[in-house]
């Protein structure tokens, strides 16, 4: 019980910060908006990209949603390095709250930001008239996936931070990782169009499963692959959170 309370408290810290100043999150919403407005609009005329019966805009909306959440999460380690550089992380780790609960709390804090992104993209989709299935349960499911996706990649980012230890290196590695993760997934085109070697990358990329699940919920309503998608995401998340809990102490040593 106590550990859960600590997890919630660490996430609450983030929510309070966003309440004081959400400028950064609004700025982060610009990039997905451009993907939809420019990339989406331009490729909307290419009919082969989207499955029959759907427009390209409909097709990439879940992909862009997943991508923007991923981008926020993968750079979360920079925040951790920052908090280490000032004494904040040290002080968090010197409280009786268990280390794993601090890490999970930080991952959940990143999810708070991810959810904010999702809300913005949903609003944008409505505004652009992109027809998605706005069934309350499906939307709730998508938010659940967003939370998990954020936790998965922010923990991964914290693991990287524990080894790289500087903000500059984290910026660098973030740039290196985001593009392959994004392009080697089904976010903006189907995996079937990829060269065979890239397909293998796409199959081990958690983002592919996330995008697939989101499309099932928001577009097709065909849930047959959702259990596999969620299974893959849960495995990846538990693994990364577990490793991050163990290695985070490297940051204060």
């Amino acid at each position: 019980m106590r550990s859960i309370a600590s997890v919630v408290t660490v996430a609450e810290m983030e929510a309070r910060k966003i309440r004081h100043d959400s400028t950064e999150l609004w700025m982060r919403a610009i990039q997905p908006a451009l993907w939809l407005l420019i990339f989406g609009e331009v490729l909307n005329s290419v009919k082969v990209l989207a499955p029959a019966g759907y427009s390209y805009m409909q097709y990439i909306a879940p992909g862009v949603l997943a991508q923007s959440v991923l981008f926020v999460a993968i750079f979360y380690g920079i925040t951790i390095v920052w908090e280490r550089d000032v004494g904040l992380l040290t002080k968090l780790l010197s409280t009786p709250s268990p280390r794993s609960s601090i890490v999970i709390g930080k991952a959940l804090a990143s999810a708070v930001r991810g959810v904010f992104q999702a809300v913005v993209i949903f609003a944008l989709s409505l505004l652009l008239g992109i027809r998605l299935r706005f069934d309350p349960l499906d939307v709730l499911g998508v938010f659940g996936i967003v939370v998990m996706l954020s936790m998965c990649f922010s923990s991964f980012s914290m693991i990287l931070a524990s080894f790289l230890k500087t903000r500059d290196r984290m910026m660098g590695i973030g740039q290196v990782l985001t593009m392959p993760l994004f392009f080697a997934s089904s976010a903006i085109y189907p995996i079937s169009l990829m060269p065979y070697w890239l397909k293998y990358v796409a199959y081990v990329n958690p983002l592919s499963y996330v995008v697939d699940a989101m499309r099932s919920l928001l577009l097709t309503g065909d849930y047959s692959s959702v259990p596999l998608d969620l299974g893959a995401l849960v495995v990846a998340t538990v693994f990364f959170v577990g490793v991050a809990s163990v290695v985070v102490k490297r940051l204060v040593q």
């Binding site: 968090l92 010197s94 709250s97 040593q253």
Partner: protein, 327 residues
């Protein structure tokens, strides 16, 4: 029971650096214990071991009888730690910073408000509680950091360089808060510092550290006595003949070039007698001065070198900028 007992503590970092080389000391309950030494002496490492943040390579450390290696959680529950770097969040208000930590310390919900108000009051921050911390001054941030540790009502407080980077006014304020905490709540404290004056002013006992070892542990007064007494320097006309002193007044160290140096105890009390003596011998006095030994002298005697204070100049202005830069 001792508040802190450390025995044979050694920490060797990956590249073979010996940060701690088998140190041992103990701290009584209610004491302010200073770890004094230059950069790299091992002060912060000692504190990090005691606050369970790093594991020592060998040796034992107990806080109120609890082993820091075997029961780190219990140790964390009864301590407060104020790290050297900024440990408050600039993007939250002062109140929120304390609220978050009261929750992480598992303070009962019904008790939180009272403890936070009390800590803010004690650190004289109540009026600014609802301002974002990034608008605080460096001294206020430091006081908030101490307040943050206080919401846990710790039995022992670890302060790592509490006045580093602060202007003289804020420094004094932090020092007086620390002393009050100790006196009013009988809180045991371990303070690291490279500032001799600070150690002299606030610590009951001081351990002088250098290169991972403890050179000597004692009260500041006794340490100063151990390097010798006070020196009274009297300037007289150059041609003055040597004057012999009665033994109870002190020992004449030198008398040349119009300067007499007298080694004595309680120099301030001896000055009138020196004046009377010289006037009786009709020696005109041009000036008279008194030098008391400082912990700096103690440091030179026991650690063999001067504490390097220059390296800290840079850290001073960085402190506040750091918190303000945000993310």
């Amino acid at each position: 029971m001792k508040a802190v007992e450390v025995d044979g503590l050694t920490k060797v970092y990956g590249r073979g650096t010996r940060a701690l080389d088998g140190i041992g000391f103990s701290v009584d309950e209610g004491e302010i214990f200073g770890l004094l030494g230059p950069n790299g002496a091992g002060k912060s490492t000692t504190i990090k071991v005691l606050t369970t943040l790093i594991r020592p390579t060998s040796g034992t450390a107990r806080v109120f009888g609890t082993d820091v290696l075997q029961h780190p959680q219990q140790v964390r529950q009864m301590m407060g730690y104020v790290p050297q770097a900024i440990s408050v969040d600039g993007d939250l208000t002062g109140y929120e910073n304390l609220l978050i930590f009261s929750k992480l310390f598992y303070v009962e919900k019904s008790e939180r408000r009272a403890r936070i108000d009390e800590a803010l009051e004690f650190m004289q921050l109540a009026e600014r509680a609802d301002d974002l911390v990034k608008h605080y001054s460096g001294g206020m941030m430091r006081r908030l950091e101490i307040a943050q540790a206080l919401v846990n009502r710790p039995r022992i407080l670890f302060l790592d360089e509490p006045s580093i980077g602060l202007d003289p006014f804020s420094k004094n304020e932090v020092k007086s808060r620390v002393r009050e905490l100790n006196r009013e709540l009988n809180m045991t404290m371990i303070v690291t510092t490279h500032d001799m004056v600070e150690a002299d002013e606030i610590c009951d006992r001081v351990a002088i550290m250098n290169a991972g070892r403890i050179a000597v542990v004692d009260t500041p007064t006794r340490l100063k006595e151990s390097v010798g007494g006070d020196i009274v320097t009297v300037r007289v006309p150059p041609a003055t003949a040597a004057v012999s002193l009665p033994p109870d007044l002190g020992r004449l160290l030198s008398s040349e070039g119009g300067e007499m140096r007298i080694l004595t105890q309680n120099g301030e009390e001896k000055i009138p007698r020196v004046i009377a003596l010289l006037e009786a011998r009709e020696v005109p006095i041009e000036s008279i001065s008194l030098a008391k030994p400082t912990l700096d002298d103690v440091f030179i005697k026991y650690a063999g070198s001067r504490v390097d204070q220059g390296r800290y100049v840079e850290a001073r202005s960085e402190r506040r900028n750091f918190a303000r830069r945000g993310r």
